[in-house]
Chain length 435, copies 4
Amino acid sequence: MVYPNGKMNEKKVFKDPVHKYVHVDDQVIWDLIGTAEFQRLRRVKQLGTTFFTFHGAEHSRFNHSLGVYEIIRRMIDNVFDGRPAWNTEDRLLCLCAALLHDVGHGPFSHSFEKVFHLDHEHFTQRIILGDTEINQVLREVDREFPKKVAEVIAKTSDNKLAISMISSQIDADRMDYLLRDAYFTGVTYGNFDMERILRVMRPHGDQVVIKYSGMHAVEHYIMSRYQMYWQVYFHPVTRSAEVILTKILHRAKALHKQYYSFRHQPVHFYSLFEDEVTIEDYLKLDENIMYYYFQVWQEEEDAILSDLCRRFVNRNLFKYVDFTEKYHGLNNWMELSSLCKKAGIDPDYYLVVDSTSDLPYDFYRAGEEEERLPIMLLMPNGELRELSRESSIVEAITGKKRMDQKLFYPYDTLYEDGRKGKVKEKIISILEGKG
Amino acid sequence: MVYPNGKMNEKKVFKDPVHKYVHVDDQVIWDLIGTAEFQRLRRVKQLGTTFFTFHGAEHSRFNHSLGVYEIIRRMIDNVFDGRPAWNTEDRLLCLCAALLHDVGHGPFSHSFEKVFHLDHEHFTQRIILGDTEINQVLREVDREFPKKVAEVIAKTSDNKLAISMISSQIDADRMDYLLRDAYFTGVTYGNFDMERILRVMRPHGDQVVIKYSGMHAVEHYIMSRYQMYWQVYFHPVTRSAEVILTKILHRAKALHKQYYSFRHQPVHFYSLFEDEVTIEDYLKLDENIMYYYFQVWQEEEDAILSDLCRRFVNRNLFKYVDFTEKYHGLNNWMELSSLCKKAGIDPDYYLVVDSTSDLPYDFYRAGEEEERLPIMLLMPNGELRELSRESSIVEAITGKKRMDQKLFYPYDTLYEDGRKGKVKEKIISILEGKG
Amino acid sequence: MVYPNGKMNEKKVFKDPVHKYVHVDDQVIWDLIGTAEFQRLRRVKQLGTTFFTFHGAEHSRFNHSLGVYEIIRRMIDNVFDGRPAWNTEDRLLCLCAALLHDVGHGPFSHSFEKVFHLDHEHFTQRIILGDTEINQVLREVDREFPKKVAEVIAKTSDNKLAISMISSQIDADRMDYLLRDAYFTGVTYGNFDMERILRVMRPHGDQVVIKYSGMHAVEHYIMSRYQMYWQVYFHPVTRSAEVILTKILHRAKALHKQYYSFRHQPVHFYSLFEDEVTIEDYLKLDENIMYYYFQVWQEEEDAILSDLCRRFVNRNLFKYVDFTEKYHGLNNWMELSSLCKKAGIDPDYYLVVDSTSDLPYDFYRAGEEEERLPIMLLMPNGELRELSRESSIVEAITGKKRMDQKLFYPYDTLYEDGRKGKVKEKIISILEGKG
Amino acid sequence: MVYPNGKMNEKKVFKDPVHKYVHVDDQVIWDLIGTAEFQRLRRVKQLGTTFFTFHGAEHSRFNHSLGVYEIIRRMIDNVFDGRPAWNTEDRLLCLCAALLHDVGHGPFSHSFEKVFHLDHEHFTQRIILGDTEINQVLREVDREFPKKVAEVIAKTSDNKLAISMISSQIDADRMDYLLRDAYFTGVTYGNFDMERILRVMRPHGDQVVIKYSGMHAVEHYIMSRYQMYWQVYFHPVTRSAEVILTKILHRAKALHKQYYSFRHQPVHFYSLFEDEVTIEDYLKLDENIMYYYFQVWQEEEDAILSDLCRRFVNRNLFKYVDFTEKYHGLNNWMELSSLCKKAGIDPDYYLVVDSTSDLPYDFYRAGEEEERLPIMLLMPNGELRELSRESSIVEAITGKKRMDQKLFYPYDTLYEDGRKGKVKEKIISILEGKG
C-alpha cells in the first residue's frame, strides 16, 4: 500500500489561471484526479446557465475542485507549518475532502435538484462510499479513510478544524469560487487579497480564526461575496435560463407520467422520473447528455417541450418584470393566469415567479442557522470576537436578507407582430404595470 | 428595412474577460448574435481537446467570435477615424465578417475535418449564403450583403483592406485568439500589447500596415504566437487526445461501413459516414452531441470503439515518445506493428504517429504561400518594408519550419502488471529506444 | 493664437501603468505638461511618506495629475458624446482643470501645510493666476481662460457640471488616486470597475449622475475607498513618519525664531518661517530640497533637530500605542509628560498624539458638509435618488465617523539596553498600560 | 550572538506590487534592511532618468533589492528543498548577497560613474567591508561573513553556485528588474513566467541549470530582455536626459578646476572633483542631493551650467537624429562643430553623440566575455547543452550586437523664432540631412 506516505517521484503541476499553478505531490491526489468520477466534473459547469449572461463563465467544476484543493494545500503549508499535531493523515484527509467536496454535483445542479428532489451532498457521500473508482483509491490509504473523508464533507467528522477549513463562512470553497468566477466572467467584484487572508489564518482549537490585523482583508472578502451574489449569481438573465430549464425538466417528467411517446426516448432520465436513481445512473448524467436531449427534443411533437428546448438551446429566453405587490397582487395574478390560458399560453410553463431565496444564497448571517460557523477574530489580547461585532461594515449587512422576486414570461410570444389580439394586450398592460 | 443605419436605441455590452467589454450598437450585429447558428458556437470549444492539458481552456468559439468582432470595431475606430472613404456599409461589412468568420466550425474541428474530409471554411460560406437565420438577418441590410460578407471571409472580395484586417499575419482573429487562449489557459506567453498595435496600424492602399515605430510591438506579437504554438497548441497531451478522437471517428465510420449493429445508433453521423452532409445535419452537430455518443459508445460491444471512448471520456490518454529515425526507422516500425498484432493490439488504432505539420500550423513564413500577406512596415520616409527585412528576430524565425513527430501508444495496456509477456516486453524495449 | 482649436499634428501618448495610455491631442495640454510648474510635480510624491510603509508608493503627483486628466478626457468622450451643448471650450476647460487641480501641492503636503499654515488650494489658484508659465499657456486660449480654470478648481465656477466631474464624491480625482495608489502600493483593495462607472455616468443638469443599473459598481467604488483609507492612507507607520516630519519642521522653525545659528542655513525655508511666501519661493521647494535639508541637518548641533532628521532619513520611526481613555487619561498624560522631562526626553517632540481626523479624511458622509455633492442615482423612471437611500451598504457606512488616536514615542530611546533607569521603567509601564 | 540561527519571533512581510509579498524571517535580513546604507537606496532610482520617458518609472533601488532577495529566497525553497548540503549558512550567505548586491550604486549611476570614473561594484565592496552599519550586522553572523558576502557579489567566491544564482544570464537580479521595470513603466514586454522558471531550475555542480522542459520559458525570458532593452532602457528620450546630466557634471567639474566661484558651493562634490572619495562622502550623495544642486545651479552665472540645469529640472531635453555615416560623416561633423561655435553654441556641451554601447548593455551573447555564464539546459538524458544550441530563437539573437548612434542637440536654441540667422539655418540643414 503506497499511501499515505506515497509522495510522487516527481511533483506534478496543473497550470491554473487563478492560482497560477496547482501543485500535486501526493500519489493519492493524483490518482483521485484520474478517476472517472472526478473527470466527469469536466462536464458540469461551475456556474450552470450563467454563461448565457457572462459568456466567459464556461468553466467546469473540475476547475473549481482543483482550486479548492490547492487553497487547502497552501493553507496547510501556511497555517500548520511546524505544528506536529497536524500529522500526515490529517493533511491527506483535508486535501482529499477539499478535492472531492463537489463530486456529487449533477448537471445544472440547481434546477436539476429542485425538479427531481435530489441533493448533491447526498450523492457526494454515495460516490465516496459506494462502489466507485474514487472509493477504491481512498481505501488504499486505509479501509476507514473513505468514511473519514465523507464525514469531513458532511460536517459530521470529529475533526472540526478540517471542517472549518473546507466549509465555513471563510473557507477554501468560497475563496476559490469567488476568485475563479470573477476571473472567468471578467467582473472585478470578486477579487480580494487571498494571499493576505491565508497569512492571517490561525488554527485555534476546533476552528480556523483570523488574526485581528487581517480584519480589513476579511471585510473585503465579505463585500466581494455580496457583490458577486447580486452582480453575477442572481443575475435575472441567468435566472431566466434556469426557469426555462426547470420547466423543460418538469414537462418531460409530466409527459413521461402521461405515457407520452417520445420520439427520442429519455433513456438517461427514466430512473430520475421514477425516483429510483442508482449511483451508476447518476454518474452517467452530465451536461453534455442533458444538452443532447434538449437538442433532440426540439423535434418532439409536444409543443411546450419543443418550444422550451428551442428557447434554451438558442438562448431565446424569457423577459422579466419585478414581481411586486403593487402590480401583481393575487387578483392580478389570477387574472393574468386566466388571460394566458385564453391566449393559448399555458401559465404553468410560461408565467413563472422566481425569487432569489430559491437560489443557493448563503450570504453571511451570523447566528441564524446553526451550521453557519461565524468568522472569529483573534484579538491581540488573545480573545476571540465574532467579526460583525468588530466590523461596522460587516455588521451593516449581517442578517439583512435581500429578496428579489421576478415574473418571467415569453415576451416574444406576446408581442409577436400581427397576431396580437385583445387578450394579449390586456396581459401586456398588466405586466407593464398599467393594469 | 432597419439596416444598415439601424443603430440600437441603447448600446449593449457584453462583459468580456479579455477586452473588458464588447460593445454592440448596430442592430444587425445584435440580431446575428441571436441567431441559432451563432448561438451554436457556444457548444464548440475554441481549443478542442486542449482542456485535457490546460484545464482552464474550456472557452467556446462564441467567446472568440465576439472578441474578433470587438477588435475590428476598435480597429475601425482607431484606424479609420475620420476617413470618409470608409463608409457605413464597409464598416458593417467588416464587423459582420469578423463576427461570422468562424461560424462554420464543427465540433473538435481539427480531427473532425480530417476524418470526414470536411472544411469549416466551406461550411462558413454555406451558412452565410444558405437558408439560415444568419442569411435572413444579413439580407435585411441588402440582398447582396450575405454574398459580400462571405467574400470577405473567403478572401475573394474586392475589398482587400477588409480582408487584411480579418485574415492576414497580424489580424483581429490572431490577436484575439492569442490573448484569449493565454487568458483561459493561464499561460503568460500569449500576452502582447494589442493597444499599441491598434494605435500603430494604418490603412495603406489595399492593406493594413504598421508604423515603423511599432515594430517592437509586432515582434513581441510574433514571438507570442511562436510560444503559444509550441507551448499550448502543439502540446503532446492535447495531441494524444486528438489522436484518440480521430481513431474513435475512424472506428465508428469503419463499423458503419461493415454494417456493424450499434447499440446506440449514430443517427447524427449517418450523413457524415455517407459523405452527404446537408447544412441542417451539420448544424445539428456540436460537441455536446459528439460527447453523448462517446459516452454511450463506451457500452458498445466492439472492443476498440468502447475502449477508445472510455479513454477519451475519462482522459485515459496515450503516452508518447519522440518518433525519430534513430529509434523508429522503417524496420523497427514494421516490427513494432507486427509485434502489436501478436500482442492483440491493433496497430491501426493503437500505434499512431502524429506530426505537428498535420496541425493548423500557420506560423509566420514570408512569401511561402501566396495567400499569406506579409506584414509591412510604414517607414518614416513613407516607404513600405517587409517586417523580416527590418527585424532580425523575425528574420531569424521566418521560414524555419519546425517539425515534431511523436508516436502515441497505450502505455497502460503494455505495462499492465502481471500479464506482461515476452511480446510486450519486446515492444516496450523498442519504444524505449533499446531495441 | 493656436488655441483652442489647436489640435496637434500628431497625437501624443504617455505610457501609463494604470490607464495603459494617456492620450494628448490638444496643443494646450501638451504645453501645460511642459511647463516648469507642472514638471515640478515630479518632485512631490503622491502619497508623501507612505513609501516608508509600502515601498512601492514612490509615485509622484505628476503621475496622478496625468491620470485625472485622462479620466476626464474619457468621461467627456463617453458621457458627452454627441451633446452639442458641450462645446470645445467647455471641454478644454475641464481638461485643463483636471490636469492642474493639484499643481499647488507642496512637498509632503500634509505636514508642511499644518506647520506653516499653508493651503495647497490657495497656491493652486496663485500658480494659475500669477506670473507663471502655466498662466502664459492658458492665456493663449483666451485672456479670461486662466480665471475660468481656476474657478472650476476652486468650485466657484458657474459650470457646476465641470466641478462635479472633477470634485465630487465620485470624481476623476478620487477614481484615479484609488486605482493608482492601489497599483503602486500593490494592495488590491483599491480596484473597482472604472470602465463600468464611466459607462453609467450621465450629465444631468448641473451634475454627473449614475444610472441606477450601475449602483453596484458605485458601491464597490465606495467600499474600495473605505478600505484604502484604513489599510493604506491611515496606516500608523506612515503616520509615525508624518509625526517626525512635522516635528522636524517645528523644531527648525523654533530654532530660527531663537536665532539659532544653523551650520546649514535653511535658505529655502526663510520665507516660510517668516510667513511671507511668494509664489517663486514656494515653487522652489520640493521634496528633493526638503530631503537635502533633512540630510545635512543630521549634522546640526541641536540634538533634537539632528536626531529627528536622522530618524526620518534612516527610517528609524517612532513606535505607537492606541491612545485610549483607559490607559492614557489626563493624569497619566501629565505624569508621562513630566516623567519624560525627568528622563531627558522632550515631550513636545517625543510624545505625540495623532488622530486620524487630522488626516485628509473625506470618507463618504452624505449631507454633512455643504460642499460634498452626494452621489445621485438616475432611476429607470427618470427620478434622482441619493445613493445611500438605495444602497444598504452605503447607508451603513454613511456618516459613521471612525476615529483612531495613537500615541507615538521613541521606543529605542526608552528601551536602550543598559541605561534604562527607574524613570524610563515607569514611562514604559504607563505606555504598556500597566501604569 | 543571535545569528545565523536567529529566526524572528514573527515573520515580517513587505507588500510588494511585483511579488505580492516579500517575506523576512531571518533577523539578520531584517537588521540589514534597517541600516542607514540600505535605506539610502530609497533615494536612488532604479532606472535613473527613465522616468522622464516613462513617468511610472519612479521606483527606487530599495524596491529592486528587496525583490532580488525575495526571488533568491524562493529559489532556495524551490531548488534546494531537501538538499542537506545547502546548509544554513550558505542560505544566509545567498540571501545577504542578494539583498546587498546593488548597495554601492550612486545617484544616476550611469552618468555619475562615467564622469567621475567610479564603479558601483567597487563601492559595494567597500560598504560591506568598511566601517558601516551593514558591516556591523554581518559581523554578528561571523567575523568572516562580510568577506564571504562580498566575494559572492564580486564573483570571486568559491561558492560558484551562489554566484550563479545572483549573477548569471538568468539570475534573480535580471528576473526582478525585468518584471519590476515592466510593472512600473507599464509596458508589457518584460513579463515572463518566473514561476515556471523557478520550478525548472536545478543546482548542478557549480551552477544553476534549467530543465529542458523549461526551455520555452527561458526563450520567453530572453526575448523579454531583448524587448526591454530596446523599448525601455535604450529609449532615446532617456538617453537625452542622460546626455544633459553627464554634461552638467562635466561642466561643474570643469568650472571647479578653473576656480570658478560658485554661488552655491558644490560641497558634496568636492571629493569627487578631486578624485578622493571616502565611503562617508559617497554615502552622503544621493539623487535628492544631486537634484538640490541642479536646482540651485539654475541660478549660477555660468550660462552653460545654468542652462543645462534648467533643461534637466524642467525636462527641456535635447532632440536627436540618427547619427549615420551618410548624413554626418567626419567632414560634416567638423563643419557642424565649427558652425555651432560661430552660432555661439558650445559643441562640447550641445552637440553630443551617444551610442548605446555606452549603456549597460548586457544582452545575451554566449561565450563572448569570460564572465558571462551561458545558460545550460539539463537534457532528459542528463547531458548539459548550452541554450543557443537548442533554441533557434536564442541562437538567432546570440552575439548579434545591435548599435544605435544618435546625435543630440538643442532643437529649441536652433529653431528659436525670429533670431534664426544663416549659420543656424546651415546647421539645421545638416542635421536634417539636407546638407
